[in-house]
Symmetry: C2
Subunit: 338 residues, 2 copies
């Protein structure tokens, strides 16, 4: 294994000079620099990143921790978009991304602590889940670096990148009302996913109903855990209790797919106006006729990546960021009254 010393010897300079060429070459005379570069080339020298990490006390790695098992991370399309956003940002600024997806929530949180305390990573991005507030306390007590994908405890002011769904659901509901729909279902996100539920989807929905002079009926709202299966089941419940339903707004794209499948199975094609939850590329391709709330998952992941890198580099907390949803009209359904 060739080391920096071999390079120094061949180039006839000190080890520190080689190190300078590697890291801060502007502090080295051009002629010296060239000699060192030649030696590096000749020896096919590659600096040992681990040794540098040890000395610098910097792993140059970011952990992306998801407390729902690998089948969730790698199969939920929103999660993938977040992951992709984080990957793109952090890899562009010289960090590597480590994905950690233990099967049990409590393992995940311990894993976050372990990764960070072991100095395997310089900081982590945490997905909201039950118990994450405890972990954050420990991160804060130990002065470790973290960013959360959503608000994780009451009064959290720093180190989060969240998405506010109020505008999206408000606009979606308004739009459906403008088409003449009166019985509009909402397949809401799960309260249990988040420590601090912002009720944003629900609030946008209720506000729009109120403005439209339509009564808010709580049983038109069902929670689901973002999955296809929940979309399927909850829509069936909804339509059974409210056979006069003509439209439904879904909190996520997988739930949208489940809803569409349920509609097909029930022989209700073209009878229910569906609004999708995320506006993912795949959904636009599969169901180009669907209007959709837009969920900036990629941007959320990207911003979280940017935030954790900044926090690591500057060594201080950063104020939280809120991204907004919008609403895209792509409707090709007829207005249906049943």
């Amino acid at each position: 294994m060739t080391t920096l010393y071999d390079v120094a010897k061949l180039a006839g300079v000190s080890p520190k000079t080689v190190s300078r060429v590697l890291n801060e070459s502007h502090l080295v005379a051009e002629e010296t620099r060239q000699r060192v570069l030649n030696a590096i080339e000749k020896l096919d020298y590659h600096p040992n990143a681990i040794a540098a990490s040890l000395k610098r006390n910097r792993a140059n790695k970011i952990g992306f921790i998801v407390p729902y098992g690998s089948d969730f991370v790698f199969q939920d399309p929103n999660m993938m978009e977040q992951l992709r956003g984080t990957h793109d940002y952090v890899s562009a600024v010289g960090f590597e991304l480590i994905v950690s997806a233990p099967l049990h929530k409590k393992d995940a949180l311990q894993e976050a602590l372990r990764l960070t305390k072991n100095r395997n990573v310089d900081g982590v991005i945490l997905y909201p889940s039950y118990g994450v507030d405890q972990i954050i306390k420990e991160f804060q007590a130990k002065n470790l670096r973290y960013v959360t994908l959503g608000i994780c405890y009451d009064q959290q002011k720093n180190n989060f990148v969240e998405v506010d769904q109020t505008p999206g659901s408000y606009l979606a509901t308004k739009y459906l009302i403008s088409l003449g729909h009166q019985r509009i279902g909402l397949l809401n996100k799960p309260y249990s996913f988040f420590m601090v539920n912002r009720d944003d989807l629900l609030n946008g929905y209720i506000t729009a109903l109120k403005e439209g002079g339509i009564e808010y009926i709580p049983s038109l709202v069902r929670e689901g855990n973002f999955t296809f299966e929940d979309g399927y089941e909850k829509f069936k419940e909804l339509i059974e209790e409210h056979p006069d339903l003509t439209a439904v707004i879904c909190a996520s794209d997988p739930m949208t797919y489940g809803t569409i499948r349920a509609i097909a199975d029930l022989g209700l094609n073209n009878k229910i106006h569906v609004v999708a939850g995320d506006n993912l590329p795949l959904t636009q391709k599969l169901f180009p006729q669907l209007s959709s709330i837009t969920n900036p998952s990629y941007e959320q992941g990207r911003q979280a990546g940017k935030m954790i890198v900044t926090i690591i580099n500057e060594g201080r907390e950063l104020p939280g960021v809120t991204l907004n949803t919008e609403f895209v009209i792509r409707n090709m359904h007829p207005v249906v009254k049943r």
Copy 2:
């Protein structure tokens, strides 16, 4: 920062003993071990993984290199399944997974070399792509560790986990013929993706046609690059040239989605019998009526993870592994003759 020395001091033992407790505690007297563990607990000590890595010359990390940009890795569902399989295996045996997805192929391959030579990772999993054979030569010359997800050069005997699609396409074609289909299209995988094309999908298809006494018409086969867009375009080409087409076999699930969308756009719903390419969970949910070739992507990723870990631990090459496709009948279409 508490170090192993702090623990040693508190426990009244030598650093080496603490190290033993951490790594090979059976070589330590139980009473000593307890004293050390107590000290670790009391100090909330976490071993510095980087220091251990430096000394051991082992990063405990696997690189997963994909030469097609992050939008491909994180959006292609098969890739995700492979990644998930690798993640699950390697994380279970104490390795971390580093995903590397540079935008340009040649960057990707340089990245694979850099990651490995820098000792950022102990080995890499390489996706087949143009030029990967050159990189492999360099890996071999430098005695670096790698596994490829498919055969990447002529006569490659070692260090790969590939999938043979012959059985799947053979069975799918047989089945379609048994239903009475005569004009069967094949949306094939792209030759350009692979250095060494095994023609497996095509061979299974041709063999089954021959056995069924049906002429093989080359223009019924179109290549696509696994994406929705290619499925859409290539199917349109196919049906335009062959209006008497009644069935089509797709090389991947995204291509299947594209084909289904094209069929809908052309007003041919229920007129074309579609066979899906991968049998991914999402496809089963979205289109439960589709028969499908089963592509063991998760298992492929898992086996690749297992292989690279074994190669790293044993320091030698391993014979390649071939996984097989199957065919699942889920048809609810009527048999259609046009």
